[in-house]
């Protein structure tokens, strides 16, 4: 089959007076790891819940694999979800948690056992089938939730903040693990996250949402290097936003700027004074005041070990090339 696996057409949803999703159009291709990225209250979770069937759109259509799913209840959708809280059934052991969905399909007992074992092996939890969720660590619980959602071989796997409940160390490893599984199983993942690093690091494509609308869709590289709006430029990573003309701006990433004692040989240059330095080990962030004008943020790798390259109060030159910045109109 071809065509997008998910097609969202003018979907809107309000809760009382609050408009959670305000007209979203989106297509997601087969085999993508797609991220919905945005701050809290941007509508990303509501959109995900509409894909799962927990919320019904007020208007618009949701088509999954060519079938209109708009009014279909969650239990009849070929979609499974990994919940942010994992939502593991505390009264069932791990095997019964993972096998729950297969049992509902009426799959034979022996096949359930096989598929549960395979799913547990896939997430590297072999032999833990008899444990209760309460006896597992946070990372193990997350994998049970993943196995439970994967075992039904859904056309679409939804992940609600998949890494939010893990501690920092675990998060790194799990990120790569999820991407590996997604590629290995050739599934389509749609994940929701508020963490731009997570979205950038995992997604093949992402949509940035704000106030119930999608502001930009693209690959992580696209969105970072060519933000469409000032909001995106500021939300994804850090950007210096310089006004160049009325209603015209330039987004300039800190690492695209050269900082030097003498005028660099770049197309654009300006002098300023260092007002602040944040030493981060591998690199330092400098806040440089340009005359009485804006304060620019500049990142420089600390390639020299012995001495600090610049000090607070130093007069310095900033330089950037012609294509370093992204012009913005909004």
């Amino acid at each position: 089959m071809s065509g997008p696996i998910v097609k969202i057409d003018g979907v809107a949803k309000s809760f009382g007076a609050v408009q959670a999703v305000a007209g979203v159009d989106l297509e997601i291709a087969r085999g993508e790891l797609f991220a919905l990225l945005g701050g809290s209250g941007c509508g990303k979770t509501t959109l995900l819940r509409m894909l799962a069937g927990f919320e019904t759109p007020d208007s618009g259509r949701i088509v999954i694999d060519g079938q209109d799913m708009t009014g279909v209840p969650p239990h009849l959708r070929p979609v499974n979800m990994m919940f942010q809280s994992y939502a593991l059934f505390p009264h069932l052991d791990v095997a019964n948690n993972v096998g729950y969905g297969l049992k509902r399909e009426g799959v034979a007992k022996t096949e359930i056992a096989e598929r549960v074992a395979a799913a547990l092996a896939l997430v590297k939890l072999d032999g833990l089938g008899a444990r209760r969720p309460a006896q597992l660590s946070g990372g193990q619980r997350q994998r049970v939730a993943l196995a439970r959602a994967l075992v039904k071989r859904p056309k679409l796997l939804l992940l609600d903040e998949p890494l939010a409940a893990l501690d920092r160390k675990l998060r790194e490893g799990t990120r790569f693990e999820l991407v590996r599984l997604q590629e290995q199983l050739e599934l389509t993942f749609v994940m929701v996250t508020h963490d731009q690093e997570e979205a950038m690091g995992m997604a093949s494509r992402l949509a940035v949402m704000k106030d119930g609308r999608i502001v930009q869709t693209g690959t992580p590289h696209d969105v970072y290097e060519r933000p469409a709006t000032r909001f995106v430029a500021d939300f994804i990573g850090v950007a210096n936003i310089l006004q160049t003309a009325p209603r015209r701006w330039l987004a300039l990433r800190p690492e695209k700027i050269v900082l030097a004692a003498n005028r660099p040989a770049t197309a654009h240059a300006a002098t300023g004074k260092i007002v602040d330095i944040a030493y981060e080990g591998d690199r330092s962030l400098y806040r440089v005041a340009i005359g009485n004008g804006p304060v620019m943020l500049v990142a420089q790798m600390n390639t020299e070990r012995v001495r600090e390259s610049h000090r607070r109060g130093d007069a310095v030159w900033l330089g950037w090339s012609d294509d370093a910045g992204q012009p913005l109109e909004e």
Binding site: P73, N80, S85, A87, Y100, P133, R148
Partner: protein, 270 residues
């Protein structure tokens, strides 16, 4: 905790528990009293125990009470489950406010008022419909009405702090709303249902006032029997009965506490 505060806490609790348990302890002790005079110790004896087990009127009453309690507790649990579920999960329907008040009101309604109103209902239905005869049915209906409130409250409270994503997860995995209820919701609130049932059972077994109003001439429940005996003064057989009731209540409560503990431990205390 400072020494002074610990001593204060100990004194308060020791005094409080002594107040709660001394009278009960005396009732138990005097059930083994030789003397007929309940307040004078005449030596150890089990004769009142034997007498009670040959007291047919008392045993019949106990049997009737037990039957009523079983049926009414089960019915009250079913209806209370429905009522509690509706209160916790259906935010809007016509007449919800009235419904919520109706569920809680029997809990705080003076029993004499409920008693007289229930009797009037049965007298009225007897006049209009020629039945049902007052007795087992009328007593059971009365008990269901006031104990279903307690079950509903327990169920509602349990459902209120219930993680609803569990139900969503079940539906997401292909369970219909009904299967979701049976495989996820029901097992999760089972402890609440058990304690609700036990509460309803105890309330039914213990009720005197409502029962006295609606019982009719033929039926006598255990509390009615005890009441008519006690009105005439203290009776050693009642001490024996009290001892049995206390023993059963204590062991049931301890067993259910241990059981819930085990379930909670298994599921993690989250």
């Amino acid at each position: 905790m400072t020494i002074g505060r610990a001593r204060f806490a100990f004194t308060v609790l020791a005094f409080g528990y002594a107040f709660l348990y001394l009278p009960i302890a005396l009732v138990i002790v005097y059930s083994f009293n030789e003397s007929r005079l309940v307040t004078v110790w005449g030596g150890f004896s089990t004769k009142w125990w034997i007498a009670l087990f040959h007291n047919d009127a008392m045993l019949d009453a106990a049997w009737l009470s037990l039957r009523i309690a079983l049926v009414s507790a089960t019915l009250a649990t079913a209806l209370g489950l429905a009522a509690g579920y509706v209160l916790a999960r259906v935010p809007r329907f016509i007449g919800r406010t009235l419904f919520a008040s109706l569920v809680i009101a029997p809990m705080v309604m003076p029993e004499v008022v409920m008693g007289i109103s229930m009797l009037l209902l049965f007298v009225g239905s007897d006049q209009l419909l020629g039945g049902p005869e007052r007795g087992f049915l009328s007593i059971t209906a009365a008990h269901v009405t006031f104990s279903l409130a307690f079950v509903a409250i327990v169920v509602q409270a349990r459902l209120a702090d219930f993680d609803r994503t569990l139900e969503e997860a079940a539906m997401d995995l292909g369970a219909t709303p009904w299967t979701t209820f049976v495989t996820v919701t029901l097992p999760m609130i089972a402890p609440a249902l058990v304690s609700g049932w036990l509460l309803a059972f105890t309330l039914s077994l213990d009720d005197l006032i409502l029962t006295q109003f609606v019982a009719g001439a033929q039926s006598q429940t255990l509390p009615m029997r005890v009441y008519s005996s006690v009105r005439l003064g203290v009776d050693p057989q009642i001490n024996v009965l009290a001892t049995i009731v206390i023993a059963v209540a204590a062991s049931t409560l301890i067993a259910s506490t241990v059981l819930t503990r085990r379930i909670v431990d298994k599921r993690g205390a989250r």
